[in-house]
């Protein structure tokens, strides 16, 4: 590639970054990351590989650059028309660069009657863009969606995987401010969906959810913990896949903690040990059937969700 086009912003991982391993010894912006080719190669062969390829490029770069589509077409032996048709068909794909934070406002029926359009208008007013656009400083992209599947919590806004429920127009400024200063980013990987769960004590079946202490915009899971002769409360994020927590005492990382139910004071302990570090697992009952187990070692992300008896999922 001798021709150097201005494609600044194409690769958010490496464009102009001095330490990018893919840029070494290259002048000017690179046409595309070698990672493209990697992604494409991973998915070739299978019939349905196209959407998976595009999804991965979209996840990594935030949007589908025309050059990326051409590359995909070329490498996978499809015609550009087909690739372009798929890319424009699904709303998950964007052909325009998106901002750092993706704000989705639900305008489904339930959210609509609960005042979703007013929230959308307020967001449009504050961000000074209309739905589907990106702010000039590339901070926010605003989009409307038709249903997020959490109608009872409406109106709902989702920013970078964080759900904000029962939003009022007065809360919008605060939410945007929080998003800008950095919500702990919840990694969204297509297969591991982030969703809120409600859990109860495995012994007394009393709900452990604490709506007065929301984490990630959801009621937290409140338990009592004991370690180093200290005894206090611990609030865990109610979003499955989010590791945010809050506690009375700082729990030193890598220490094993005993979990107790705040209602029946029984220790939450099962027979299982963490598959990643060997510490005992803490079982909790998921509302609707099933068991979630989390590792009792601070900092270990070992967890297991068993919904084999599930009714609602």
């Amino acid at each position: 590639m001798t021709e150097v086009k201005d494609i600044s912003g194409l690769c958010s991982t490496c464009n102009f970054a001095p330490n990018c391993i893919y840029r070494q010894g290259r002048e000017g912006p690179i046409q595309y990351c070698e990672m493209f080719a990697e992604i494409i190669e991973q998915h070739t062969g299978a019939q349905g590989g196209l959407i998976a390829t595009l999804e991965e490029i979209q996840a990594r770069y935030g949007y589908l650059h025309p050059e990326a589509l051409k590359m995909v077409a070329e490498k996978s032996g499809r015609s550009l028309v087909d690739v372009y048709g798929v890319a424009t068909f699904y709303r998950a794909f964007s052909l325009k660069p998106r901002g750092k934070h993706l704000v989705s406002v639900c305008l489904g029926t339930a959210c609509h009657v609960r005042g979703g359009p007013a929230i959308a208008q307020e967001l449009e007013r504050q961000l000074k863009i209309s739905a589907g656009q990106t702010t000039p400083d590339n901070e926010f992209t605003l989009e409307t969606v038709n249903c997020l599947g959490a109608c009872a919590l409406g109106p709902i806004i989702v920013i970078d995987g964080h759900y904000f429920s029962k939003v009022k127009t007065s809360m919008v400024a605060d939410i945007l401010h929080r998003a800008k200063t950095g919500l702990d980013r919840v990694e969204i990987i297509t297969d591991q969906r982030i969703f809120p769960i409600e859990v109860g004590c495995a012994r007394c079946n009393h709900s452990l959810m604490d709506p007065r202490h929301p984490i990630d915009g959801h009621p937290s899971i409140r338990v009592t913990v004991a370690f180093d002769q200290k005894h206090g409360w611990l609030a865990l994020s109610g979003l499955y896949g989010s590791y945010n927590s809050d506690s009375e005492y700082d729990i030193p990382s890598d220490s094993e903690v005993q979990f107790f139910c705040p209602h029946c004071h029984a220790e939450l302990i099962g027979g299982a040990n963490c598959s990643e570090c060997g510490a005992p697992m803490v079982p909790m009952i998921v509302r609707g059937g099933g068991i979630v187990q989390i590792c009792s070692r601070r900092g270990c992300k070992g967890h297991m969700l068993d919904l084999s008896g599930a009714l609602i999922f």
Partner: protein, 225 residues
């Protein structure tokens, strides 16, 4: 060989024939817009509906995409079929009132009213041009983009495609814009300017548009006002 009943007539046909082919073979006319020999059946225009089955279980199917089956009872011009066909024509006419082909069909099938707002679209999404481009011209230069209301036809990114050889095949088969290109007679031309003739008409002052099937076209000048 398959035995079936076509408009009350017992017929014997070869296996694998579509109902449309059978009806044409036995001389029962079925109107079509999106069907063309040499292109794969698509079933987009719905004009070729026929009634299959008997009594309350009879259903309307597109004859271009359904194969003849043993013991099938087909009616190509029953009341129900004619009613459906007229409605489809009325709808097509509303989306593309300027198309000569659709006008002719509408008049032939006694569509005497227009109850829908005229949209003056330049496309009925029949996909003939896409199939022509892919199957006969082996180019795959144009295709469908987007979905729902925003579904449209054209090249990726709306720029001239590297695959397109400007063969004009898509204009040739299009039922909505067939009369746009008047070829060598630029005075009467209502196309957006064709690149097939020399000098290409898009270079002349009169035609500074791109090819009409790629861009808003002049036959739809009505739309542009």
């Amino acid at each position: 060989m398959i035995n079936m009943k076509l408009n009350g007539l017992g017929v014997t046909v070869e296996e694998g024939m579509t109902i449309l082919e059978v009806a044409n073979f036995y001389g029962f006319p079925i109107p079509t817009l999106c069907h063309m020999e040499g292109l794969s059946p698509y079933g987009a225009c719905r004009l070729c509906v026929v009634e299959v089955g008997d009594g309350p279980r009879a259903r309307l199917v597109t004859s271009c995409t359904s194969r003849a089956e043993e013991g099938m009872i087909v009616r190509t011009a029953s009341n129900r079929v004619m009613k459906a066909r007229m409605m489809i024509l009325e709808l097509l006419l509303a989306s593309c009132p300027q198309s000569k082909i659709i006008q002719d069909l509408a008049s032939k099938y006694q569509v005497r009213q227009q109850r829908f707002r005229q949209e003056h679209e330049d496309c009925i999404m029949c996909g003939l041009c896409v199939r022509m481009c892919e199957e006969q011209m082996m180019a795959k230069a144009i295709g469908f983009r987007g979905r729902g209301e925003k579904r449209s036809l054209g090249t990726p990114f709306d720029i001239k495609s590297e695959e397109c050889r400007l063969c004009g095949g898509c204009i040739y088969v299009c039922p909505a814009c067939q009369l746009r290109c008047t070829y060598t007679d630029p005075d009467k031309a209502i196309c957006g300017g064709c690149a097939n003739i020399h000098p290409p008409c898009y270079l002349k002052d009169k035609f500074d548009d791109m090819m009409c099937y790629m861009d808003p076209c002049v036959a739809c000048e009505i739309k542009r006002d």
